[in-house]
Amino acid sequence: MKRSFDRRQVLTWGAGVAAIAALGIPGGPAHAKNDVEEVIAKFTGGKTPTTGKVKLDLPEIAENGNTVPMTVAVESPMTTESYVSDVLVVTDGNPRAGVAVFHFSPASGVAEANTRIRLATSQNIIAVAKMNDGSFFTATKAVKVTIGGCGG
């Protein structure tokens, strides 16, 4: 039986795959197309949040942008001395940046919430947590969307 493809062909494919990976996977730099920066600045009062403590859980690839499960959790003892008061969730690729704000208190026991969100296109989701001492923490997660979720 004759081999169906030769060495040269395989090498070409390899280069192609590598090029796609290089272009696609990092998600590209996030330059804001909507009001994401203003929304975050309003929430933090102009402070720059520190990366960490926040865990944002979304699928890497969402087949249907109409309903993408999202979990946000923030590390905190959740006592009256030290707790997470608010968590802002925004996106940089939807027509409007805002998604939701969760309000916690020591009575919540744990700063964790899950909901389903709409994503118009592949983009970054950003969570910003506000602690009771006035500090801010953040996490970002890129999601690729196959079918956008804003109708139209």
Partner: protein, 108 residues
Amino acid sequence: MSVKPRIKLDKKEAKKGELVEVKALVQHIMESGQRKDRDGKTIPRKILNKFTCTVNGKEVFSADFEPAVSANPYIQFKFKAQESGPVVLTWVDDDGTKIVGEDNITVI
């Protein structure tokens, strides 16, 4: 239109200080106000913009929703069991109407 939200607590009875997980689903169109109808007119926005959960009258969790929350919004969160009483979940629509659902927790 009266909508009955579906609410599920992961336990009916909890020890004091134990975490109780709440899952809730409510039927709602969550119209974003971004879409246009066949004549090119914008379909007016209609979303549930506020969610609150109280246990025995005390607020344990709340959330503000934007149009980017999916239709038939689902919400999952936890609270720390402190005292027995009704667990009341309230969603507020853009037009001010409220959708209310209730369950109970017993602290042992």
